[in-house]
């Protein structure tokens, strides 16, 4: 008997990050009925991490994303803290906060300067061949220099404290691996005033842009929704180690001071056959009214204050954009810039305290609980790591609820609204394509939790009539 070998070939192996498709569905009259954002890739971390030991998870999950590895590392360590059932040393909590804020700064700088500023300063209808960071650098070199410096600073702080700019494995269950030296602290403190000035200058420039785009900013992905984000016990904005709050579009509290596990228990997930991205919602209100947004806009909407002087002054001005919560998704950009400023101010406060230099940064224990839910505020929003372990600490279940997924319903709502506003006569223009893209870009999605093709997000846009016939397709590759 002979046996034939068989080879299964997957060809082509398409890109593994940043692949998305938008379809716009028209009704019988040719008007836009719905737009859908399809994420066509799959990572599978939840499954292949099962069987690993929970203490490996901060290093493993930091590999999920090249932009926000710190948030995964910290949420994972936070889940591990709960499985150990230890009290993490205050200095370790402080250092985790600082590194997470450094990541917020660098990631927000990437989003605003590298990905969105081409639309905002060059225009949606500008030449797509120039509509990227290189084009911004040519037309507005100072703006591009600010963005590069802010991103560089955030990355440098991560490297100085956590050892690596990307994929550090420094936070662990129980604390962090290394303490902060006074030399590193002093280097960061010395650099902070200059980058804070850049953040302020960028905010001033953005507000001038906002004056020119007031109508668009009011309507661009503007709709009522819930907002979820982290706050301290007194309602100040927080990015790690706080409790979670949900507010409605009027700014009224729907839930408050929730631990990660309690908050996660209030969330349910719907699944769409056309996307790998699940759609979480606030379960008590169902998938329609329970749609919520996370990320910088949500964090500013749930918090009562930033607690730092310059950011609080900006927050007061920002609040005037809404009655209750600020609803336009366009203002994710604005919120992002305020958070950069806040992050730099708050880093300085956290570093200035001598507690930052204490040597006790790790509590040691073995598995004491079977279950732990860790939370951090990633740049794009609230991030949950939910682990269940067996008696040896081996993971039997992993559930990751990532910010981009939590914004999925809202992103679909935003592009539907934008498409309804701009699509007419069953035609698409490049300018429309870019406006729809910009609706997604405002949320700064991380499709494989690491999707960032500056200026030219790979996108596949279809116009479909009521019978399902594809009328027009526009494809854009990542350049």
């Amino acid at each position: 008997m002979t046996t034939m070998s068989r080879t299964i070939v997957i060809e082509p192996v398409t890109r593994v990050e940043g692949h998305a498709r938008i379809t716009i569905h028209l009704d019988a009259s040719g008007a836009v009925d719905e737009a859908r954002f399809h994420v066509t890739e799959f990572r599978g971390f939840e499954t292949f991490c099962e069987g690993r030991h929970f203490q490996e998870m901060p290093a493993l999950t930091s590999r999920i994303c090249g932009i926000c590895p710190v948030s995964h590392m910290i949420a994972s360590a936070d889940a591990g803290d709960r499985i150990l059932a230890v009290r993490v040393p205050e200095t370790a909590m402080r250092l985790r906060r600082i590194v997470n804020l450094a990541q917020i700064v660098q990631s927000h700088a990437l989003s605003y300067f590298y990905l969105s500023s081409p639309d905002l300063v060059l225009g949606y209808d500008s030449d797509p061949a120039q509509r990227h960071l290189l084009g911004v650098a040519a037309a507005h070199p100072e703006l591009a220099r600010h963005g590069i410096r802010l991103r560089q600073f955030g990355q440098q702080v991560i490297e100085w404290i956590a050892g690596k700019r990307i994929h550090p494995s420094w936070a662990v269950a129980g604390g962090v691996m290394t303490a902060l030296t006074s030399e590193t602290r002093d280097r960061i403190l010395a650099a902070l005033p200059a980058v804070r000035d850049l953040a302020l200058e960028t905010l001033r420039g953005f507000k001038r842009t906002l004056d020119q785009r007031a109508a668009e900013a009011r309507t661009f992905g503007s709709f009522p929704s819930l907002f979820l984000g982290m706050v301290t016990g007194d309602g100040t904005i927080e990015h790690y180690g706080g409790r979670l709050r949900i507010v409605d579009s009027e700014g009224r509290r729907v839930a408050d001071q929730l631990e990660g596990a309690a908050c996660k228990a209030l969330l349910a997930e719907s699944v769409h056959p056309w996307s790998y991205l699940k759609s979480p919602y606030y379960a008590p209100l169902g998938p329609v009214d329970g749609m919520y947004r996370v990320g910088p806009l949500a964090r500013l909407n749930v918090a009562e204050r930033c607690g730092t002087p310059l950011a609080d002054a900006e927050l007061t001005e920002f609040r005037q954009l809404g009655r209750g919560a600020v609803l336009s998704s366009f203002h994710y950009h604005y919120a992002r810039l305020i958070e950069i400023l806040y992050g730099l101010e708050r880093m300085e406060e956290l570093l200035a305290d001598e507690q930052a230099l204490a040597g006790d940064v790790l509590s040691r224990a073995s598995r004491n609980q079977a279950h732990g839910v860790g939370v951090s505020e990633a740049p794009r929003g609230t991030l949950f790591h939910d682990y269940t372990v067996d008696a040896d600490g081996v993971l039997t279940h992993v559930d990751l609820i990532i910010a981009t997924g939590q914004n999925n319903l809202a992103m679909n709502r935003a592009i539907t609204q934008i498409a309804r506003q701009y699509v007419s006569n069953q035609t698409l223009t490049e300018g429309l394509l870019n406006r729809v893209e910009a609706g997604i870009r405002a949320f700064d999605p991380c499709l494989s939790c690491s999707t960032h093709a500056a200026g030219t997000m790979p996108l596949y846009l279809q116009l479909v009539d009521a019978h399902g016939t594809v009328l027009q397709t526009l494809a854009r590759t990542s350049g």
């Binding site: 590298y114 990227h132 290189l134 040519a138 070199p141 590069i148 991103r151 990307i166």
Partner: protein, 154 residues
């Protein structure tokens, strides 16, 4: 008069076999070229532009697919603004960005090593590994020649 340090940037992913050639070369350079600044990075990103702008001469080191494994080539890199921006920059785009941002663009070169094993895992193929010492010598030669041509004192 400020003397700008030369900058050598080895780039590539050391966990994809021969793609780590740039990093392997960069690791050898501090002893051979103690006066140069050496960076080893997974990919070229805009944040490198200011280090490039402050350099005397810049040499990029990379693995290059489609050539005989271990074969060395060097060429001049000219700034370009025509390229789109994907997940990472090309040496040309990085030099173009440097020019646009800082109005300075030092002479730049690419030293590439032919490679064909980009599988998952650390370690270079035999041919590429054997080429690393030669690449170090080539970089020294490129820097020396450029220094002699330009004077490089600014």
């Amino acid at each position: 008069m400020t003397r700008h340090k030369d900058l050598v940037i080895g780039f590539g992913n050391p966990l994809r076999r021969d793609d780590g050639a740039g990093a392997a070369v960069a690791a050898c350079l501090p002893t051979r070229l103690p006066d140069a600044q050496v960076l080893s990075v997974p990919q070229l990103v805009p944040e490198i532009a200011d280090a490039v702008a402050r350099a005397g001469v810049v040499v990029f080191v990379d693995a290059e697919v489609g050539r005989t494994p271990g074969e060395l080539r060097s060429r001049r890199v000219w700034p370009s603004r025509a390229q789109s921006l994907g997940h990472a920059l090309t040496p040309e785009a990085l030099m173009g960005l440097c020019q646009a941002l800082y109005d300075r663009c030092p002479p730049a070169f690419l030293v590439s090593i032919g490679a064909d094993d980009f599988g998952v895992g650390p370690g270079l193929s035999e041919a590429v590994s054997a080429a690393v010492p030669t690449a170090v010598g080539t970089i020294a030669d490129v820097l020396s020649a450029s220094r002699n041509r330009t004077g490089r004192q600014t």
